[in-house]
């Protein structure tokens, strides 16, 4: 048997035929290469979900347990201990609609930051676009978010939240979140390989970031001019979109606009940094 081009199996199995020229590879070449290897991403995401949901008896429960418990605690503190003046009715739905996207963001940023570092062996031995390792984390966590939405709906029905057509905004909300997390992940993943203790900084920043994000309150609850600062948090717009369908309040489109701009900027900057540091990262891991 010879390796002629006409042979069907070879052409379908062989990796992308485009020549691998590293010098002068343009910016749009990277997303293209990533798209060509989307099967690798699907494979890795499927593997993550399999590990998550098949290998433990409580599989599904685990992914919703943390936001549920947190929602329970915040609900208790802010409605039973303190007298609540923030958020919207029903508060437990308001909380969950903020906590579920936050859980995605938090988990994905932590995992994406160490994506290259923790999969060093795979990164060293397989020639897939290195972005795959970050995208895979963002999508795995995203799927977990989608799978946790039924819980939000259940609470929405049970507490008679004013559900309306704004529920469709969950879709652009998820897209926006994926773009944001991908940008941040692409920025952090190579830096964490080169500067190890950055990972700890990320964790601390996330912990503080929780209180800078309108999860347990709304941007409009922040007094005075500070509310403008909170509106600049790129997550405010994402959470606004998640909450829109469960609330009668008008959607704050300015927050969404800020999120969209931040997502685009972070994606461009993150991808540029990733491409620039890739060579050094491959030597270090």
């Amino acid at each position: 048997m010879s390796l002629r081009e006409a042979e069907a199996p070879l052409t379908t199995i062989a990796a992308p035929p485009a020549p691998r020229t590293w010098r002068g590879a343009s910016v749009q070449a990277r997303p293209t290469a990533l798209w060509q290897r989307r099967r690798a991403i699907r494979l890795l995401v499927a593997r993550d979900l399999k590990v998550r949901y098949a290998s433990s008896a409580l599989g599904y429960l685990w992914s919703v347990l943390e936001p549920l418990l947190l929602a329970g605690i915040y609900w208790f503190i802010f409605t039973q201990v303190f007298t609540r003046t923030v958020g919207a009715e029903p508060y437990i739905v308001f909380l969950l609609a903020g906590l579920l996207p936050w859980t995605w963001f938090n988990g994905a940023v932590i995992d994406a930051a160490r994506a290259l570092y923790s999969e060093a062996k795979l990164v060293r031995s397989t020639n897939v676009p290195r972005e795959v390792w970050v995208v895979r984390v963002v999508l795995s966590k995203g799927v977990e978010f989608l799978l946790s939405l039924p819980v939000l709906f259940a609470f929405g029905f049970a507490y008679r939240a004013p559900l309306d057509w704004h529920l469709v905004l969950l879709v652009p909300g998820a897209v926006l979140m994926a773009a944001l997390v991908l940008g941040i992940g692409l920025l952090l993943a190579p830096m964490v390989v080169l500067v190890r203790d950055l990972e700890r900084v990320v964790r601390i920043a996330l912990r503080l970031g929780f209180y800078a994000t309108p999860v347990i309150f709304a941007v409009s609850d922040v007094p005075g001019r500070l509310s403008t600062v909170f509106a600049l948090n790129p997550l405010a717009g994402v959470i606004e979109l998640t909450r829109a369908g469960f609330s009668a309040e008008p959607v704050q489109w300015s927050h969404v606009g800020v999120s969209a701009i931040a997502a685009v900027v972070l994606l461009v900057v993150g991808w540029a940094v990733f491409a620039r540091l890739e060579r050094a990262v491959l030597k270090e891991i």
Binding site: M1, S2, L3, E5, P9, L10, T12, I13, A14, A15, P17, P19, R20, T21, W22, R23, R37, R39, A40, L43, L44, R47, K50, V51, S55, K121, L122, V123, R124, S125, T126, N127, V128, V193, L194, V195, R196, D197, L198, V201, E278, R279, L282, K283, E284
Partner: protein, 249 residues
């Protein structure tokens, strides 16, 4: 896969620099010393390497330890990028280097075969079609549903070799994997490599065994201190290499 005149691998003016110092910088170093600072402990693992390889050529890389052989293979595999120069590979590559690296300890052997083959670009249909072949070759049937981490190191290499050597890629890279495994399995690996060469694939072999090099490779590349000091028929290259060994002995 290109026409007959277009080389399947071209390496042009390639240099790779490594740092000898500490592997990881800390935030403190970064903030105090600044990232841009030139580090004095760098060295060039490869210097200004250039060659071209046509489809179907069999190339052996010789040189002493630490002269850049594995670095060169990693460049062709695309898991390392050159600091200078270009590496063009115009066909898919099956890298038999660090082959067990792609395997995940907690997943079963079965899942690992699917994952690794998929990551290297094998389609789902092809994996299904070749699955039995892979299992047969690695002699691992009764361990299919065992987590990979519970296999012996010999078994691990067997599975890994079985998967990667089943990739239908036109270029094969082999780095020392033949050194592991028992005699019977080694013989099987050799037979498999010969089969792949006979199919007209391009072979790139790093080895310290003159026998293997003569057997599989028509052309030799000789690396010394990161430079390409020899490129020609395998026998001549091996003779030149033998001279170096004699000199230093």
């Amino acid at each position: 896969m290109g026409s007959a005149t277009e080389p399947v691998v071209s390496v042009d003016g390639v240099s790779v620099r490594f740092h000898r110092g500490r592997r990881h910088r800390s935030l403190r170093d970064l903030l105090i010393r600044g990232e841009g600072g030139v580090r004095r402990d760098e060295f060039w693992a490869l210097r200004d390497i250039g060659f071209q390889i046509q489809q179907g050529e069999t190339v052996g890389v010789v040189g002493r330890n630490g002269q850049g052989k594995s670095t060169l293979l990693k460049l062709i595999a695309g898991v390392l990028l050159p600091d200078r120069g270009t590496v063009d590979v115009r066909a898919g590559v099956a890298p038999l280097i660090e082959i067990t690296g792609g395997f995940v300890a907690d997943l079963t052997v079965r899942d690992n075969i699917g994952l690794t083959a998929g990551l290297h670009g094998m389609s789902r249909a092809a994996i299904a079609e070749r699955f039995d072949e892979i299992v047969d070759f690695s002699e691992i049937e009764s361990f299919l549903d065992t987590p990979y981490k519970h296999l012996s190191s010999g078994m691990k290499v067997r599975v890994a070799f079985a998967v990667v050597s089943r990739l239908e890629q036109p270029v094969i890279l082999v780095d020392e994997v033949l050194a592991v495994g028992d005699k019977a399995f080694k013989r099987k690996c050799h037979a498999r490599i010969e089969e792949m060469v006979a199919e007209g694939r391009t072979l790139f072999l790093v080895s310290h065994s003159d026998g293997d090099l003569r057997r599989f490779c028509a052309r030799g590349l000789y690396l010394r201190e990161g430079r390409l000091v020899g490129d020609g028929p395998m026998d001549e290259v091996l003779m030149a290499y033998a001279d170096e060994i004699r000199e230093s002995a």
